[in-house]
């Protein structure tokens, strides 16, 4: 993998919650227009890591980061880096669908409006395009003025994806996006991710190993070796290799269920 195929380079990244070191010395490349999955047991630091990729952790008191995350050649942890612009470029979809208590239309138009787009025609086009890309348009086009919170869980999650897409990000982070929705809705989201791969770089945290195996191109396995230690990267490689012939015995033991 040559350097310019990578959208992000995570270099020697450690993160502390106060005195507690949550992840240690993680180095990982995120290839452009691919899906990278982060897997590992609960508490291994996979959610912490994904939240480092758009500086979501900055919002928590006492958080300190060492190392760097390079996005298109620039370290997002460098002093003076524009985090508002960063979060537009690197969007996030959360575990629980969290539409705003507004109409479907307003949910999607919210970001572009904040970004200064005011013309109705322009906003209409963005809303339609984003809902289409999120594979939700045909289900909601008649009811755009209904509350987003009245949709089903799976629809709400796709609405949240549309909301992210509407601000034209380059990277989409998914933090266990399917853990609160049913299997059919999960399949829809997975198909959607495969579609979105053409235009976006994606990182997904999932505790469902089969989901990682199904959707991702690359998989990173994180683990806390001893209680109280930070999470470390154990193995990173092509998903196909990780799930058929992993190199590290700890990866093998985890994915085959030989330890929890």
């Amino acid at each position: 993998m040559s350097a310019n195929d990578n959208k992000m380079d995570i270099n020697n990244l450690s993160m502390f919650y106060g005195d507690f070191k949550a992840i240690e010395d993680i180095s990982l490349d995120i290839p452009a227009q691919r899906i990278t999955a982060l897997i590992g047991p609960s508490g291994c630091g996979k959610s912490t890591l994904v939240r480092c990729l758009n500086r979501m952790n900055d919002l928590i008191n006492g958080v300190r980061v060492e190392g760097e995350v390079i996005l298109d050649g620039e370290n997002m942890y460098a002093p003076g880096y524009d985090t508002i612009a960063l979060r537009r470029r690197v969007g996030m979809v959360f575990q629980r669908p969290n539409p705003f208590p507004k109409s479907i239309y307003e949910n999607v138009a919210y970001g572009p409006k904040l970004g200064g787009i005011k013309k109705k025609g322009e906003l209409d086009a963005i809303v339609e395009d984003s809902l289409k890309k999120a594979a939700l348009w045909s289900e909601v086009k008649q009811n755009l003025q209904e509350s987003g919170q009245r949709l089903s869980g799976g629809q709400q999650q796709r609405l949240c994806i549309a909301r992210v897409i509407a601000v034209e990000p380059e990277v989409i982070l998914f933090d266990e996006p399917c853990s609160a929705i049913d299997p059919v809705a999960t399949q829809l989201i997975e198909d959607l991710m495969a579609e979105l791969k053409r235009n976006y770089t994606m990182v997904i945290v999932t505790h469902n190993m089969q989901q990682a195996a199904r959707v991702s191109d690359y998989t990173a396995f994180l683990l806390v070796q001893e209680q109280g230690e930070p999470g470390r990267l154990i193995e990173y490689g092509e998903t196909n290799t990780i799930f058929t012939n992993p190199e590290d015995e700890r990866t093998e033991r985890y994915i085959t269920g030989r330890f929890g």
């Binding site: 190993m209 089969q210 195996a213 799930f243 058929t244 012939n245 992993p246 990866t251 093998e252 994915i255 085959t256 269920g257 030989r258 330890f259 929890g260």
Partner: protein, 216 residues
Amino acid sequence: MEVRKTFHEQLDELYRDLLKMANTSVETIERTRAAFASMDASRASSIIDDDDVLDDFVMKIEETGIELLARQAPVAIDLRTIIVIMRVAQHLERVGDLCVNISKAIVNLDGYTVSPWIQENMEQMFQRSVKMTVRAMEAFRERDVAKAEELSKMDDTVDRINRTFLTSYNKESEEELELIIRVVMIARFIERIADHAVDIGENVMYMVTGEFVEFS
């Protein structure tokens, strides 16, 4: 902590079924060898009748294997083990079919006298193919890559004896054509049994290393 205990118990059971099947296959080659050595048509017939046992084994192993693939979505070493168990079962079943082919030839040779030269060389081939099948299954059980690789060398001897049957026949022209053809066919069948042992070895390599190899 083991979190997939039930699945791993099912996998162990599948594994044990394969070892049982392998014992039956080896026994079948042994019986076929004895039937040829004594040119005993009734012994040969009983081998033909008993082939169902191996067919049942392979069916059961495949059914369980498919079920585990569908329901447990195994990965890594578990995935490779299930795939290899299913493939090895196929090879062992083919070994049984070849023993049936040999046994049919033995039945058809009723009344012919087979020369000591043929007996001796055929005995050699039978013994080697038994040894190779046993060795292949040892390699499987012990996950022994070196043992699996040795099979290729052992196969060379079987191939060589097999070729001797073809080349030596030009000189022994007194023997009847039907006898010659059947003996050459039997040698060829035994040679195929040895090839299956080599294939099992290749599968062991895949199971252990995750690499596809072709022993030549």
